[in-house]
Symmetry: C2
């Protein structure tokens, strides 16, 4: 209830943020599933979001995603068994592993980004291009402020 609605109320700020986000997420993961990547579930998004091109360690991904290394290890393992990432020993540290996107992992990343842009464009058509641009700008401002105030 980040947006509990007493009878009179609707459209708390929570709902206003959550609903579009859910619509977007459903579209993106739905399209990925339908488009030949059925093993990619929402939880795996963080890997694609936070992985660096040169490869990342599991702890690093976990840290960035705000979860435990055990949980991240499960996600990485799933993606590895389906060929979206490769996991190799890190030559510079015998304890560590290096996780990297494979060709098809990069495909997924690109596809997701494209879908996101597509949905954003649809929304622009819905509420007006200028309005969508303003909305994005204001959200960026809020986003940056929230990042700073940590």
């Amino acid at each position: 209830m980040a947006d509990s609605t007493l009878p009179e109320i609707e459209r708390t700020i929570g709902a206003l943020l959550r609903v579009p986000w859910q619509v977007l997420a459903e579209r993106v993961y739905g399209a990925l599933a339908a488009g030949g990547y059925p093993e990619i579930r929402p939880a795996h998004g963080v890997v694609f979001r936070y992985i660096r091109a040169e490869g990342s360690r599991i702890v690093e991904l976990a840290e960035r995603a705000g979860m435990t290394k055990q949980s991240m290890a499960v996600l990485v393992d799933h993606l590895a068994t389906h060929g979206y990432v490769s996991v190799e020993p890190d030559p510079s540290d015998g304890r560590a592993k290096r996780v990297r996107l494979t060709r098809s992992g990069k495909e997924v990343q690109r596809a997701a980004l494209k879908l996101s842009r597509q949905v954003e464009a649809e929304w622009a058509a819905l509420i007006g291009a200028q309005e969508m641009a303003s909305l994005r700008q204001l959200l960026e401002r809020l986003y940056d402020s929230l990042q700073d105030s940590r």
Copy 2:
């Protein structure tokens, strides 16, 4: 990955919506937990959001929340055992039950709403009152458009 970030990119529309929402949710549920309602978890939010003042049926809540009646029954049961809702047989239908907020359930609802408004005010201080007002307006516009286009 409603917002997969290829190296160059940051701040996809997904991240811009998701991050503030997460901040808000954490604040609201954190404050509720700290403020004497530790049994209220994020999953229970839907009950407070969708319940009608006259009382609602389980199927109705499930429908509105977009989940199965079994799942909703679990949430309602949890809230009932902690005294936030009452569950009585529906006099007009022998199969059905009527779920209503108790006094303390209403308290929670009000507290959550207040917290939400508080966070919104903090954000206004962060990015500017006018900007926050514009942001809300644009989000409302998007929200309404998305509702309509179903």
